[in-house]
């Protein structure tokens, strides 16, 4: 409990730093007014819009206004949609969660059996094929894989719908796209983690007392091999978020990723700031949860 409290306290400066970096980045990279008005707008129109949106204030004042609003839970208004930025972001979370969870499930379904198999049958043809496949899976960019899956399974064979969010069918292709890279990473990790454990003394002891191979692998080795895997899964939250930006755009999936991409494109500052803040909270939380799961997996780990 004490550890949890300390960890949560530590997140405050991290979050503050994130707000500052994001705040500066969206302002340094371009003037939203120039993106909102057409090429043919006059200087006067630009100036009055800039004034109306408060962009003429010094940066430091803009930042402190932003922070003091933030403390009250006010992330400002999206100037594209003219509504509360936080509401926009929160409205998109269910779609993104749905996609992220489905991708994780796919990643686990693929990586756990393949990782174990490849470790147990080390240096066999299977192993070669699986590790080769993992390299390929890691190397395939999301946007390419997504477009290829659409061309193959939607356009040519017409098995799944092309894009949008709807029934379970709509979820399959984006989840595979997003899950493949993570599955590849996890497969390699489970393999190497299993190999290390399988070579340890307690496994030899288990074997020498005549335990079945299935029990050794599944119960003794796998549980111990999970600890680094959980770390990676937690760290994958950020990969997942990065992946949703591309995957959601390719599949027209109405989630947080697509919202963030479009908001960055037009410098919709309030939305970019709100979205990155919420994402930061999730990344921090998932790391905390990983810490807690360690304790469950290996009672020897203590945090005091």
């Amino acid at each position: 409990m004490k550890y949890m409290g300390q960890s949560l306290l530590k997140t405050i400066p991290v979050l503050l730093l994130i707000t500052l970096i994001v705040f500066l980045l969206v302002r340094v990279t371009g003037d939203p007014v120039s993106l909102m008005l057409p090429e043919t707008a006059t200087e006067q129109e630009r100036e009055s819009l800039r004034e109306a949106m408060g962009f003429n204030e010094p940066l430091a004042i803009q930042y402190f206004t932003y922070l003091s609003d933030l403390v009250r839970g006010d992330f400002g208004d999206s100037f594209r949609y003219n509504t509360d930025a936080l509401t926009l972001v929160l409205d998109r979370l269910p779609a993104t969660f749905e996609l992220a969870i489905a991708s994780m499930i796919i990643a686990v379904i693929i990586s756990v059996p393949l990782g174990i198999l490849s470790a147990v049958k080390r240096n066999s043809f299977f192993d070669l094929f699986i590790t080769g496949g993992a390299v390929l899976g890691k190397a395939m960019p999301n946007f390419w894989l997504g477009i290829m899956l659409i061309l193959l399974l939607s356009v040519t064979f017409q098995v799944f719908p092309v894009s949008g969010r709807g029934g379970l069918g709509h979820l399959v292709l984006p989840a595979i796209t997003l899950g493949t890279g993570i599955a590849a990473e996890m497969t390699r990790l489970i393999r190497s983690s299993m190999l290390e454990i399988l070579g340890q003394d307690f496994i030899r002891t288990a074997r020498s007392k005549g335990l079945g191979e299935a029990i050794i692998v599944n119960k003794h080795a796998f549980r111990n091999a999970l600890i680094p895997v959980v770390t990676i899964m937690a760290l994958q939250t950020s990969t997942l978020v990065g992946g949703t930006l591309i995957t959601e755009t390719v599949f027209a999936w109405p989630g947080l990723g697509q919202l963030l991409v479009q908001s960055v494109n037009i410098r919709d500052m309030a939305v970019v700031q709100a979205a990155t803040f919420i994402i930061a909270i999730f990344v921090i939380l998932s790391n905390l949860i990983a810490d807690l799961i360690y304790r469950f997996l290996d009672p020897r780990i203590k945090y005091d």
Binding site: D31, S48, L49, R80, R92, I110, L151, P161, Q258, L259
Partner: protein, 518 residues
Amino acid sequence: MKKLWLLMMMLVLALVVAACGGGEDDASTEEGEEPVETSDSRTLTVAYGTDIVSFDIHDHNTTSTEAVHVNMFNYLLTNQGEDGFQPDLAESWENIDDNTWRFQLREGVTFHNGEELTADDVKFTLERVAQDETLLEHGNYNQIESVNVLSDYEFEIVTVNPEPAMLNRLSRLGSGILPQEYIETEGWEVFLEQPVGTGPYQFKEWQRDDRLTLEAYPEYFGGEPEWDELVFRSIPEDSTRVSELLTGGVDVAVNIPPTDVARIDNTDGVSTVQSPTQRVMMLVLRTDDDSVTGDPRVREAIDLAIDKQAMVDSLLEGAGTVTRTRVTPGNVGANEDLYEQTLYDPERARELLEEAGYGDGLELTLTGPNGRYLKDRETVELISAMLSEVGITVNQELIEWSAFSQRYQERGFAEMFYIGYGNSMFDASLALDRLTAEGAAGESDYDNAEVNELLIAAEQNMDPEEREQQLQRAQELIAEDRPQIYMFQLDAITGINDRINFEPQLNEMFYADSVTLN
């Protein structure tokens, strides 16, 4: 375990096969493709690259958002290009004096909530956008001084200055008429959630960045709407939009990349239509004496060195039209003698450079945005290559749009920059306002006394014929002086399912009622 492994292997293999196929000639690989299913469903599904911005018709300036709005809201009148202005909510209008326009409103028009349309709604709508400086469309309506209601169906619009383009202003983006009573009693927030207009389709549901659904409004004053339901989907990725079209997921897909045209046209059941847009791509050149481009011979040489038709044919795969004016047909004051015209004579270009004293070559900088317009980077690269053929060394600067835009506002480019201008006003006067001496200062520094006089006179000339002549003459002079060298007018490419008939509009609006089932 074995099954899973087999499945994985098949998937990877299939992907590799699909990937290899993609590189081949599209026309030949797609011929055997299954024809797209057609149906007689009375739901029309349209795919855009972005979602609508808002239902606040005055606080956006996106053509694609307006293209959706025109199905829910009506203008007082519509601009039919060469066929002139046609009545919509207004039955008739007249220009009483230089600053006053009187309108007669159509009777018996109801909003989707049942309220009747009156002149008060018009006053409320137009005065809002004319007076509220924070609205994005304010700049295009601030010519309106006031709207005076004479009776329920009669009103006058008074302008600040004589405004010959008044009707153009009232028949474009943001010209819809809003329900005063509904907005004043319920508030803007309710209106933005549950928008109400007078159009053939009424609001049903909006899932942001996914789809907007509209349904037929049976009491529409123009008769029963053509479709039961309209669905506007937002699909940002080009290839996904094309795939949706190919699988019958959408009936209409806008902004098809030129490279996908052959693939669509070779699939049974779908096809593409090309139509001109208002966007003209151009080079803007400095004409002041301190710049090498200050010499008219150098500007002419640049023009003659660039083969615009070749760029249209290769880069745009034919989806564009060469032009020597920025004001294309369908706009008031267009000089059609300069349209579909282009100059290309690299021999003469070399001679001109020689005459200008640059026989040994010259060096200049060309700045262009990267990723803003269709094939902008490729166009700039091709221009540079063509210029180097005649001995002009080009320092190419390709920058991201927001950085480009910043320098554009500061008027901080070197000798030349590449840009594309749209024209939602359908009038030459506003299209040429950066070429008056004042408008050009610091940018092209173009200062031709005759052009300046013609353009300033046309701004407030209430005699349409004389005004048109002034504008056409100005375009001739500009084409000779070349402060701007026009490359081409961009076409819009739209993919459609063959179950429907669809005619694209020059203003890129999507009028669902003009789309019919085959």
